[in-house]
């Protein structure tokens, strides 16, 4: 479903991605980890074209991302994204946050969009917050609204960029629960996260990145019990024992 083939990306002189290759099947759940600055965000942001790559190929759902506007629009309609900082629209209510995309980009009628929004708010378990503004919600609730907002576009693929890193510890679980539920429903997901309990539970494939490269990939059992590279071992040591 997603095929990334020898992709490189530069920010000026700095190489953020170095010959990154990875295949993701439909329905597969991939968890990406690695030290800060290793290129995790850059990689997943290339998938929905928030960043453009300089070399290599990215094919999503049969569409090659060649920099054309058609490819861009085809892809972002099919790929949902959840950000570390939520990025909700502060001047809109929860319901308006959710219906904006469906009405303006998918051409749904207002009532149909509202029904859809309430359906997904139910799914992230905060239907009672529909008429509040983002700032009136806790961090965990805001992130669940952000997930619902992405789902309202009915994407085939969901990208998560450290969705719990900005949350207070007591709110992390409510967000991970929603993500686990989504994984169970068969959504294709790529999650950048350091929540290793979550990774063991839902991941089909683990990916470890360092210095813009994919250093190691594998199924979670092997990845956690028996990592091959020294860099990955050190990294797991650090985050599992603290």
């Amino acid at each position: 479903m997603i095929s990334i083939d020898r992709v490189s990306k530069f920010f000026g002189e700095f190489q953020a991605l170095n010959q990154v290759s990875i295949e993701v099947m439909a329905g597969e759940r991939v968890v990406v980890c690695g030290p800060s600055g290793s290129g995790k965000s850059t990689m997943i942001r290339c998938i929905n074209q928030l960043e453009t790559h300089e070399s290599g190929r990215i094919i999503v759902d049969g569409v090659e991302l060649d920099g054309s506007r058609e490819a861009l629009n085809a892809i972002r309609a099919r790929v949902g994204m959840v950000f570390q900082q939520f990025n909700l629209f502060p001047h809109l209510t929860v319901l308006q946050n959710l219906t904006l995309g469906p009405v303006r980009a998918r051409g749904l009628s207002e009532p149909a969009a509202r029904e859809l929004a309430m359906h997904y708010l139910d799914r992230v378990q905060i239907p009672e917050q529909a008429d509040k503004y983002p700032r009136q919600l806790s961090g965990g609730q805001q992130q669940r609204v952000a997930i619902a907002r992405a789902l309202c576009m009915e994407p085939g693929i969901m990208l998560f960029d450290e969705p719990t890193s900005a949350l207070d510890p007591e709110m992390i679980n409510e967000v991970l629960e929603v993500m686990a539920g989504l994984a169970e429903s068969g959504m294709t997901m790529i999650c950048v996260t350091h929540e290793m309990g979550f990774a063991r539970r839902v991941a089909d494939k683990m990916v470890f990145m360092d210095h813009g490269e994919i250093v190691e990939t594998g199924p979670p059992d092997r990845f956690f019990e028996n990592p091959e590279s020294k860099r990955c071992q050190d990294f797991l040591q650090k985050i599992l024992h603290h």
Binding site: N48, Q49, L50, N73, R76, A77, V79, G80, M81, F83, Q85, N87, L88, F89, P90, H91, L92, L100, G101, R104, A105, R106, Y133, R135, A146, R149, A150, C152, M153
Partner: protein, 246 residues
């Protein structure tokens, strides 16, 4: 605000009793005074109409000029800079004279005093509005663009539904300042014969020879008008902020 006005007015009326002042000229108790006062206030509608029309147009132009200034395309940004620098360099009075007396010679169309004033004021102000919009839009977190991108919003929808509503809320005080500035600058349109507040005062001074009293009234007219407008802008700001909290 009432107290402020009272303090400002107090010394005027105290000195008004002395021999140097001749308030009779605008004393509403006398027939001539009342006529004069009405004459002066007759300019108010034009000042207001001129300023509000001009600011609506200048805000529109300002926004249209600000957007290319935010583009990643160097030519578009260059266009924005050129416009802003050029317009900012022309004194308003010169622009008024040029639009009223100069422009008809190129275009072949004669233009009314009112619209010449509106065009000159709007053009001159648009450069400032463009800078205000640019700063306001730039102050919006880039995560807002990314979220809009991720839900497939077009550039136009992103601006209309996500960025501008937030930016406008932030620049409202600056827009209010521009409106006050515009109300004051509209006095310059008197030079081409626009019958606004300042022109009316000038004409009355010529017939009545009481510049002190008449220009004092003129000062007060602008003062009251601008204090009212400022209060309205602050009220609007408060309302927009409470909107979000409830």
């Amino acid at each position: 605000m009432k107290r402020l006005l009272a303090i400002l007015l107090c010394p005027l009326f105290l000195t008004g009793c002395s021999a140097d002042w001749g308030w009779y000229v605008v004393n509403p108790g006398t027939k001539q005074g009342l006529t004069n006062l009405k004459f002066l206030l007759g300019g108010l509608q034009y000042t207001v109409l001129l300023s509000f029309t001009a600011i609506l147009i200048s805000i529109t132009i300002g926004l249209l000029i600000a957007l290319p200034g935010l583009s990643s395309n160097g030519w578009l940004r260059g266009f924005n800079r050129l416009y802003v620098e050029l317009i900012r360099a022309i004194p308003i009075l010169v622009l008024i004279l040029w639009v009223y007396y100069g422009m008809p010679q190129i275009s072949g169309l004669s233009i009314s005093v009112f619209w010449a004033g509106v065009i000159a004021l709007a053009l001159s102000d648009s450069a400032f509005e463009a800078e205000i919009f640019r700063a306001g839009i730039q102050s919006i977190d880039k995560g807002q663009y990314e979220a809009a991108h991720s839900i497939s919003l077009s550039y136009g929808d992103t601006m209309r539904f996500v960025i501008l509503p937030q930016a406008i809320k932030r620049i409202l005080p600056a827009l209010g300042n521009q409106l006050v500035y515009m109300l004051k600058m509209s006095s310059l349109v008197s030079v081409i014969g626009m019958q606004e507040l300042t022109r009316k005062a000038n004409e009355l001074v010529v017939t009545e020879y009481r510049p002190l009293e008449i220009y004092t009234i003129l000062v007060l007219e602008y003062l009251v008008l601008i204090l009212l407008v400022s209060a309205a802008v602050r009220w609007l700001e408060r309302r927009m902020n409470t909107d979000e909290r409830h």
